[in-house]
């Protein structure tokens, strides 16, 4: 079966303006968008640039905008995309390095701000720290994040203001603040309780719709907002 792909092309040091290039290729049943990109890259046009690694939804490298929605190319079956031309673009809101390869530095800088690692002030335990199933349930979903950036780059608040921490960083903050083993909750809440932190979220839900791991990110941001308000009194 032949399918048409309309792919965003831009090389800032060579092209004056971004443009779209169309490729028509023969696809096989069961191909994902990543399979098609690989086919184009390997057999049709070797200049096409995009990130990929695990091709099994766990590394988070191949997040891109497919038919106007942020998704993982390796998770998106071509047959779920209807019969029309498939439009592929880089994640919005980040500087473009080449084609689908965007500069993720602003994204990871925001992540670093919330201290995305365990903080322990009491003496380190001799053995592993156990959690009850209830304690684990609190953070189970949030800990599934693969840091692909689909959520943050789908957020209109982030588009308007790159200083906004964004849903991925806030979700990471939630994951540690609500972890029974972590002791850095207070300092993290100090950091995210900021006009460019928690309060820039206006519950647009784009992040939740974009998340390839189906994490209800908005819900966790709201839980953080509740915690911050309760902490005011």
């Amino acid at each position: 079966m032949k399918r048409k792909f309309r792919i965003f092309r831009y090389q800032p040091d060579k092209d004056k303006k971004p443009y779209y290039k169309e490729y028509e290729i023969e696809i096989e049943d069961g191909w994902t968008v990543l399979d098609a990109l690989n086919h184009i890259h390997w057999y049709v046009d070797g200049t096409l640039a995009y990130r990929r690694a695990c091709r099994s939804e766990i590394c988070g490298s191949c997040a891109m905008r497919i038919n106007g929605k942020n998704r993982l190319a390796c998770k998106t079956q071509i047959k779920t995309l209807g019969s029309g031309t498939i439009k592929i673009e880089p994640l919005p809101g980040l500087p473009i390095i080449k084609d689908m390869v965007v500069d993720m530095d602003p994204f990871f800088r925001n992540l670093e701000k919330v201290k995305p690692y365990f903080i322990k002030y009491s003496p380190l335990p001799e053995e592993e720290q156990l959690q009850t199933p209830e304690e684990r349930d609190l953070i189970n979903e949030a800990a599934m994040c693969i840091l692909c950036g689909a959520c943050t780059t789908s957020c209109p608040s982030f588009w308007a203001n790159p200083d906004y921490l964004g849903p991925a960083a806030l979700l990471k903050a939630y994951r540690f603040i609500f972890d029974s083993r972590d002791e850095g909750g207070k300092e993290r809440l100090e950091i995210i309780n900021d006009r460019n932190g928690l309060w820039r979220c206006h519950a647009i839900f784009n992040c939740t719709e974009a998340c390839p791991k189906n994490i209800n990110i908005t819900h966790y941001i709201k839980k953080l907002q509740n915690l911050a308000v309760n902490n005011q009194f």
């Binding site: 608040s157 308007a160 203001n161 603040i177 609500f178 972890d179 029974s180 972590d182 909750g185 207070k186 809440l189 309780n193 900021d194 006009r195 932190g197 928690l198 309060w199 820039r200 206006h202 907002q225 915690l227 911050a228 308000v229 309760n230 902490n231 005011q232 009194f233």
Partner: protein, 120 residues
């Protein structure tokens, strides 16, 4: 985990977010009350004879005053949030914030005069 609660901290948006919701609840209840009053409970006529007695009662005045304050807070704060999202220039921000505050003061004054000028 955060267990203990601390005293009131520097306002960084948490209280603005909280009061936006509190005022929203009041506005919603007030709106329902307004609909009931205007379309179901009373005669439906808007004349001086029907409105003046209501407006002259202290309870009504208090409710209206609260509505005035809450509606202004809700609207001005909402606009301010939008400006914070999209206006990056500090000077322009400051100017627009001043415009908003002036607008709020004028509207509040007009509202207060309206509410308290009705005598029983």
């Amino acid at each position: 985990m955060i267990a203990s609660k601390s005293l009131i901290k520097r306002n960084r948006g948490a209280l603005a977010w909280f009061f936006q919701r509190i005022t929203a609840i009041y506005l919603f209840v007030f709106l329902i009350g307004h609909f009931v009053m205007m379309h179901f409970a009373g005669s439906g006529e808007v004349t001086y004879e029907t409105v003046a007695p209501r407006l002259s009662s202290p309870l009504w005045k208090a409710g209206d005053l609260l509505f005035l304050i809450f509606a202004l807070y809700h609207g001005i704060n909402g606009l301010w949030q939008v400006l914070e999202d999209y206006v990056r220039n500090r000077g322009l921000r400051l100017f627009l914030f001043a415009v908003l505050l002036t607008l709020a003061v004028i509207l509040f004054t007009v509202g207060v005069v309206t509410i308290f000028s009705v005598k029983s």
